[in-house]
């Protein structure tokens, strides 16, 4: 009971995740700034921002549903953190693992996106409304290729469970490199999930102010931002477990180091993506996801099925 509480609240649960999430924001902002030839924030900036937002006045729109408006940011945080708990970090087993946890994790990771939609919807503001509609439209575009890309490696390993997938690839040397197309597709789709350029359409500042988060102020906005950062970590953990399944059998210290390096690598890739592109339009985004990403994810699945037939033979 106590050990379960410790693993939920302290390590590798909430406190650890909180630090990781702030670090992720720092790395992302610093890289983004350096690539734009700016100086970038100091290391404590994300934490300072968080504390500052907590101290700010909380303003709830008159027409908004007070309870839902307040609860949604916490739900977003909780869902993103839960997904993290169910994923393997430095060893093959997560804190709570069960059969088919890959599918469960992907679904839990959709919940924050839904809370963004609901948050905007219940704000009863024009900009939030448009933003929340864009969140949903975007969700339907990137979720399918993301799901297919993440499931492709699982198909090859004939298991929906993290530990089995990792064990399979660990036993097969460099076999995980066949999933490179899926990794690319997942990276692009994740950019949409995290609402970053070129897919930051739901919070496009120059069009709809701050999209779904327009009416959120102070502590509630801080929690939404935190949820977004935790989501970044969760997504990076998911991708590293599925597409970079190595270094899980090397003990706590080395395993942890490899885990952190992999996360850093994925966050850096995401930061590069957000630096070198312009924001595209909603219709272009939908077309791009269905015309290019989905067929590529299908191709990956096809490759893996053929490969699997060959291995079995």
């Amino acid at each position: 009971m106590i050990s379960a509480l410790i693993s939920i609240l302290i390590f590798p649960g909430f406190l650890f995740l909180f630090i990781l999430a702030l670090a992720a924001e720092y790395v992302d902002r610093k890289l983004y700034a350096r690539m734009q030839t700016r100086l970038g924030p100091p290391w404590f900036q994300p934490f300072a921002d968080f504390v500052k937002l907590l101290a700010k006045e909380l303003i709830i729109p008159e027409n908004a549903d007070r309870l839902i408006f307040k609860v949604l940011p916490l739900v977003a945080c909780a869902a993103a953190a839960t997904a993290f708990l169910y994923m393997p970090k430095w060893n093959t087993n997560s804190v709570f693992s069960f059969r088919g946890d890959i599918v469960a994790v992907i679904y839990i990771m959709t919940i924050p996106t839904l809370t963004y939609f609901l948050g905007g919807w219940y704000s009863r503001s024009l900009y939030s409304l448009l933003g929340s509609m864009r969140v949903l439209t975007q969700l339907f575009s990137y979720e399918v290729p993301l799901l297919m890309a993440v499931l492709a490696p699982a198909i090859l390993a004939s298991s929906w469970t993290f530990s089995n997938v990792i064990d399979f690839y660990s036993a097969n040397g460099f076999l995980f490199l066949v999933n490179i197309i899926g990794f690319g597709v997942a990276l692009v789709a994740v950019q949409g999930k995290l609402e970053k350029v070129p897919f930051d359409i739901p919070e496009a500042e120059t069009e709809i102010v701050a999209g779904t988060f327009t009416e959120y102020t102070g502590p509630l906005y801080a929690y939404f931002k935190l949820a977004m950062n935790i989501q970044t970590i969760s997504v990076a953990t998911l991708l590293s477990a599925v597409f970079l399944p190595f270094g899980y059998h090397s003990g706590f210290i080395l395993g942890m180091l490899i885990f952190l390096l992999k996360i850093l690598f994925i966050i850096s890739l995401l930061a590069v993506g957000r630096t070198i592109f312009a924001r595209i339009r909603m219709d272009q985004m939908v077309r791009f996801c269905w015309q290019y990403l989905t067929p590529l994810a299908l191709l990956q699945i096809l490759i893996n099925i053929i490969l699997k037939a060959m291995i079995i033979k």
């Binding site: 700016r38 448009l130 350029v197 120059t206 102010v209 312009a278 219709d283």
Partner: protein, 401 residues
């Protein structure tokens, strides 16, 4: 019938640098109708000019716009100098042109950054604004100010360009040219940028002519019109340059025209510096300007700027009228926004490089029985040009639908 969603963009909005209001009626993500409301920036500049002596006016006029301050100041002083029949020395004309071209560089680089920000391409914004610092520093070195250079006086200029300055300018221009080549490459190759700008804010050649689009907005719809070429002022008669135009007719074309113009500007500055004649900087100007009127045209970075000044023989003007380029272009915006997406509204507005504080005027229509028909107005303008500029427009045929 369901109620339509109307999104207010402005008067306060992150995408707008100045207060203006655009009410966008939405049909899904598509903009169905746009209601443009201007007039949040009316400052009474024209009236203020009429109550102050000419010397003070040159300072007021310089503050019409924060970006093209030199354009307005030169344009106004040209009109006053024409009335007073002042012969501005050649060196002053050269220096005016050089400062004007530098202003064009910083305005175009600023626009490129703003446009990039509107489409969420913040990296390009940071890059262009960093390079813009080169020309801003140069302007500070030459004139002492980063904006509002205050280098013009009635009858000439007050700051000289020394040999050391020349070397600095040439060095900076070389650096800027290098960077601009990179931006041209970015504009031609960056896929998301091309996707976001192409076929957005379409303004056909005929529409552009009909709505009187000027400057880069007009030139992107293949109107090869540039006041520097058509009605040369200052030292532009003595330099050789191309009028950049484009036939894309969309925002992408406007971006290409602006980066293309940057390259021409560097060549203009080099030519001007090479030929810089050694004459005095200014001629003494009278405090009292004789009665008369003049219209002066100037190719500001945003397009053609017109100043009309009427003097009544005192030290104050009787009437000052400004037509900033934004006023000529803003009519075209509603045509550009037809059948566009909400996501494109702000970039289309930004693409004319609007400056609402330059534009906002109050108009009171007073009918005193001396109304002129369109034909009479046209006849008067033809006669005026024949008499004063020696150009005969009689043969130009007008098609008015």
């Amino acid at each position: 019938m369901p109620k339509k969603l109307v999104i207010p963009i402005g008067p306060q909005h992150p995408a707008l640098k100045e207060p203006a209001s655009f009410d966008v009626t939405l049909q899904g993500e598509k903009a169905e109708n746009i209601l443009v409301k201007l007039g949040y920036n009316h400052r009474g500049i024209e009236k203020a000019c009429e109550t102050k002596p000419y010397l003070h006016d040159s300072y007021i006029i310089e503050r019409v716009c924060g970006i093209c301050s030199h354009s307005h100041s030169t344009c106004f002083l040209q009109a006053v100098e024409e009335i007073a029949n002042l012969q501005v020395p050649m060196r002053a004309k050269y220096i005016r042109s050089i400062i004007g071209e530098m202003e064009r560089i910083h305005s175009h680089l600023l626009w490129l950054g703003v446009a990039a920000h509107e489409i969420g391409f913040d990296t390009l914004l940071m890059y262009t604004w960093r390079d813009r610092e080169i020309v801003m520093d140069l302007l500070a070195l030459l004139t002492g100010n980063r904006v509002n250079y205050a280098v013009n006086v009635l009858g000439g200029v007050k700051k000289d360009i020394t040999e050391e300055d020349k070397a600095q300018i040439l060095k900076a221009v070389d650096a800027l040219e290098e960077r601009t080549k990179y931006y041209i490459q970015v504009c031609q190759e960056e896929l998301t940028l091309i996707k976001r700008l192409s076929h957005v804010g379409y303004l056909s050649h005929d529409d552009a002519v009909k709505m009187g689009a000027v400057g880069p907005t007009g030139r992107a719809s293949s109107i090869t019109r540039d006041t520097r070429k058509d009605d040369p002022y200052a030292a532009y008669e003595e330099v050789d340059f191309k009028v950049i135009s484009d036939d894309h007719c969309d925002v992408y074309g406007r971006a290409l025209v602006r980066v293309g113009e940057l390259m021409e500007t560097y060549s203009i500055i080099r030519q001007l510096l090479k030929k810089l004649p050694a004459t005095p900087l200014s001629v003494p100007a009278p405090r009292i300007i004789p009665a008369g009127e003049a219209l002066s045209r100037y190719e500001a970075p945003r397009g053609e700027d017109c100043h009309y000044v009427k003097a009544n023989g005192t030290d104050k003007p009787e009437r000052v009228k400004l037509r900033a380029p934004t006023l000529a272009n803003v009519q075209a915006v509603s045509a550009m926004l037809k059948k566009g997406y909400l996501a494109d509204v702000t970039i289309v507005i930004a693409a004319i490089d609007p400056c609402f504080s330059c534009t906002d005027r109050m108009i009171v229509a007073v009918n005193d029985g001396s109304d002129m028909t369109w034909g009479q107005l046209r006849e008067q303008s033809i006669n005026w040009y024949k008499k004063n500029r020696g150009v005969d427009f009689t043969k130009v045929k007008l098609k008015i639908s």
